[in-house]
Subunit: 251 residues, 2 copies
């Protein structure tokens, strides 16, 4: 009878109903939601309308479609990435975090490494105070957690600085790139991290195996040595559903 639906598109009403059901716990992480056919029958709408409703939940990161299988509730169990190790644990101790996050038994591993010498992208050249097209050593890595890719890292270093060092090799040895920079007398002394968020490009979405509608976090980390020279720029692209970034600092 009634018609108390208000002036809201059908697909939004359907999405709101499903969203409420998830919030209320009637569907938990990993559970299968009603599919297109279910919604068409329940609400008497066309396929495209049911799709719009389910698409909205995916856009919001609540649900994830798996071809041929169904639409499922996503879970959010992020890695906690501490930007400032020095302060983190010592001063506070654990347990005072807003978002719980287990790193626990799960293992973060490098999936692929690629080292090349390339001309500097404009933004990186600007930060380093180089000419565009000046050569850089570029290290690209992909990190996987439990088999799922979660982080793309592209590290830029001045080619002249790192020539003929292990930094130009896939395996940089114990302590990694920063230890090798220290060997060269250019240990990083300060860092600047710039953080933003956006939707992935098609290439990034693929390399991170992202369900559609999941944003990425982009971190541009600049490393300065004691003299203030920029010795590295590292551009990272993170699956936003996989990470919480933590920064601890003093007033």
């Amino acid at each position: 009878m009634s018609r108390e639906t208000g002036r809201q598109p059908k697909y939004q009403r359907i999405a709101a109903e499903l969203r409420a059901a998830v919030d209320a716990g009637r569907y938990g992480p990993g559970d299968r939601l009603p599919g297109e056919n279910d919604l068409m029958a329940e609400h008497g709408v066309a396929r495209m309308t049911a799709r719009q409703a389910l698409g909205l939940l995916q856009t919001e990161g609540i649900a994830e479609a798996r071809k041929g299988a169904g639409v499922f509730v996503r879970d959010f169990r992020p890695i906690r990435r501490r930007g400032i190790e020095r302060l983190a644990r010592a001063q506070w101790g654990e347990g005072r975090s807003v978002w719980s996050a287990d790193i626990g038994n799960r293992e973060l591993a490098v999936d692929s490494v690629e080292v090349a010498q390339e001309p500097a992208p404009a933004a990186v050249a600007g930060v380093m105070g180089l000419d565009e097209n000046a050569d850089l050593c570029v290290r690209r890595r992909r990190f996987v957690l439990d088999g799922k890719p979660v982080l793309l890292s592209t590290s830029y270093l001045p080619a002249d600085l790192v020539a003929d060092t292990p930094i130009t090799q896939p395996d940089t040895g114990p302590g990694g790139v920063y230890a090798r920079l220290a060997d060269l007398g250019h240990a990083p002394a300060r860092f600047r991290e710039e953080v933003r968020s956006r939707m992935p490009g098609p290439d990034e979405g693929e390399r991170l195996a992202l369900p559609s509608g999941v944003p990425v976090v982009q971190i541009a980390r600049t490393a300065f040595d004691a003299e203030g020279r920029v010795v590295e720029v590292n551009e990272m692209v993170l699956d936003s559903a996989a990470y919480v970034l933590e920064y601890d600092f003093e007033a």
Copy 2:
């Protein structure tokens, strides 16, 4: 003749073509892109297919639809938010940033203030070490830049600590909440910021006037006084297209 299109859906091909045109600068920020009717004619596809292509660009944050007007190229001119003021300017100086950002003449202003006493949300109660349902002073604010809302801030403070102080008033006086906490002998000494990104809920999208497909950045800032007591939790939701977060720190 040929059929060298590869095995890619039409709407992705159309979107890729538009994306390339934007990247190549053939469409600049604010320019109008070909609309649904244009794409239907040019590519000989149905309306829904043209819509999918344009929808993809919006999902990626490249374009923004304006009802009745057209689809336009978005621009990204973010505010630079410095997490760690103490270090930022003194040690480096400006100009070594990957993403340029002007704050310049544009003014960040508070749009609405709302103060209330409410029971603690579970996550906040946990951080503060309180019982759930313990009363908190809750301050909700919205910030606008050039008339566009960019930040929603919800600040939680222990009700007993701030009772009968200006903190319970909309206007907290010079120096704001932190100055008043200092007056009480609980000046914040340390901060923890937890940063994540996700798609906005429908309410957030509306309150921030977000075009569809734009993610938000969520910051949970915990303030500790010198004794380690949690004196404030501030949950912020930012328009990701409006902000770059910067954190400077030492190795």
